[in-house]
Symmetry: C3
Subunit: 245 residues, 3 copies
């Protein structure tokens, strides 16, 4: 059983952080809330998302798994406007999710979750940590797209830095400690990442919201931020690119 | 002779309801106003439009027919802004319509009306009638486009209903009597229509305006609504699709 | 040496008037300001632009030439928002321009100016002059694009006029003297121009700003207007098209 009511913007927020990485996801639903963990088709990035049942207006659920086509759900949500309360109701017999927006009833078929994996979150030792307003990073990521397809993230005791280098042009964004919400780094750390992926992970974070970054040396990066009015939490993992020099 | 002045938004309104169905139309002009009746190229839909001369700021006309290319007129109207008063003047010698917007004079060639038909409005017996705010239907039509290419309209004593069914997904919009402006139906009626056409007919109606729907069983649907501040009236007819089961 | 700080909107203004005509330009920089003169690849139009050093927040320069890729600079400026102050710093060793926006440092390679010409401004005798608000002309140019690829500009003692003629349709915009800021013409003058080029030259002028037009008979047209809060000035020259009749 799964029966819930949720504000349009909360459901849209879940779609916004998930759909840049994966289209078909398995929602793990239980009485406490909803979680999903998925790896992108190229196995470069992972999303781990948890939403507390307090993010919902009404919530009632047993332990079930729902296979969702994010594109389809996103199309349905475009029919709603901010402030709408959406009803979600799992129809077990037909394996469909019944989405109700006002007087509109949309029955959406679900994907078979039988073949869908349960990826494990790898155990990583990422010694550096920085908490940054998303808006501070956005400009650097956008600028980097013009000169290269990968960027370096560096953290040391005093700065967070983003660096991209093309054949002739470079981009450098240096954020000193006083522009960061928090910086904890006992040494110099640096890893290289795909700009496409990094950009997809930063875009869903609203400009004024904080994003927590965990970094090591030639190691994956972990990004964390809250959604759904702090009643939900997202973790992204992105594998490093190895410098070819 | 045809010489008139009209507010930009009135002329744009005429284009908005006509151009989704037909591009080349014959305007029948006389001293009382302008009418047009046309069938779309696929012979699935008909538009019947009447504008009273009171919809114009100035109006002077003998009995004439003007062949208009709606795309071209629409392009000209994009040069105007809300509040502009447009002058229309028929130049009989050159068979052109002289459109004046402020200091700009645009002479537009007309289409030969010789070969253009005068379709007759068929005599239909459509027993059910519902008057609905356009905004109430719009969401249902948009949702239907995602699951099928046709939708069913149903009316009974208590509800107006719109239903679309794809291979796996469905859309249902049920509007009970108290959400309708008027409902008159002694029985259950249902007909099936192309979503593309139905969407084109509903889109030009502004959200808060009423649209009157006449329905029968496996019969055409008739939509009626006012334009030009109630000084103009539009009737659409749409042929049914026959259920193949 | 070249080291300057400039408001984002001033730099964007320079790009807006230049990039519709030429992509690669040579900036001639000296202690008084920056100038550029360039001919479009088809040799139909010329731009002559001068910016006083007073248009900058800070300005320090020796005599140098910088070869700029306008597309690239435009891409960089999209990272800035109105009110940003941009730092420009010429790195002579690497032949790069260092563009700093907030904490972002973008090093942009420059183009070799060795092969770039120094076009001379032709000496023209254009007897008619009209000063017009850009917004008055814009509608006429847009309307002309629908009927032809060239338009005529006419000036006489009483009017400024724009005229375009297609196979069946025409556009005419007549601005009497009292709608103009200034009109000085002792006779009738008329020249024909490419609409594409003329449109590219009028578009960068903001609607409420004045543009000064100098016209002769079958002669180039000269357009002049201020930018950068009157601390910069632009001259466009456009060669006439010869009427083929």
């Amino acid at each position: 059983m799964f029966k819930a009511k949720v504000k349009s913007e909360v459901l849209k927020g879940i779609i916004d952080v998930t759909s840049p990485l994966v289209n078909e996801v398995k929602l793990n639903i239980n009485s406490k809330g909803i979680s999903l963990r998925a790896v992108d088709p190229a196995h470069v990035a992972m999303i781990d998302l948890n939403i507390n049942n307090k993010a919902f207006e009404e919530y009632k659920a047993d332990d079930i798994e729902l296979g969702i086509d994010m594109d389809k759900l996103s199309g349905i949500m475009r029919l709603s406007t901010a402030g709408d309360v959406i009803s979600l109701d799992y129809d077990e017999t037909a394996n469909r999710l019944i989405v109700t927006i006002g007087n509109l009833v949309r029955k959406m078929s679900l994907i078979d979750t039988a073949g869908m994996p349960d990826p494990k979150m790898p155990n990583l030792n990422l010694p550096a940590k920085a908490i940054i307003k998303a808006s501070e990073i956005n400009r650097g990521v956008k600028a980097s797209e013009a000169v290269s397809d990968h960027l370096a993230i560096k953290v040391n005791k005093d700065n967070f830095e983003l660096f991209a280098e093309g054949d002739t042009d470079t981009v450098n964004l240096k954020l000193p400690k006083d522009l960061l919400v928090e910086l904890k780094s006992d040494n110099n750390y640096k890893s290289l990442f795909s700009i496409d992926y990094f950009s997809n992970m930063i875009k869903p974070v609203k400009g004024e919201d904080n994003v927590t970054i965990h970094l090591g040396n030639d190691n994956p990066i972990k990004l964390e931020f809250d959604i759904a009015d702090k009643k939900g939490h997202v973790k992204y993992l992105l594998a490093p690119r190895i410098e070819s020099e």
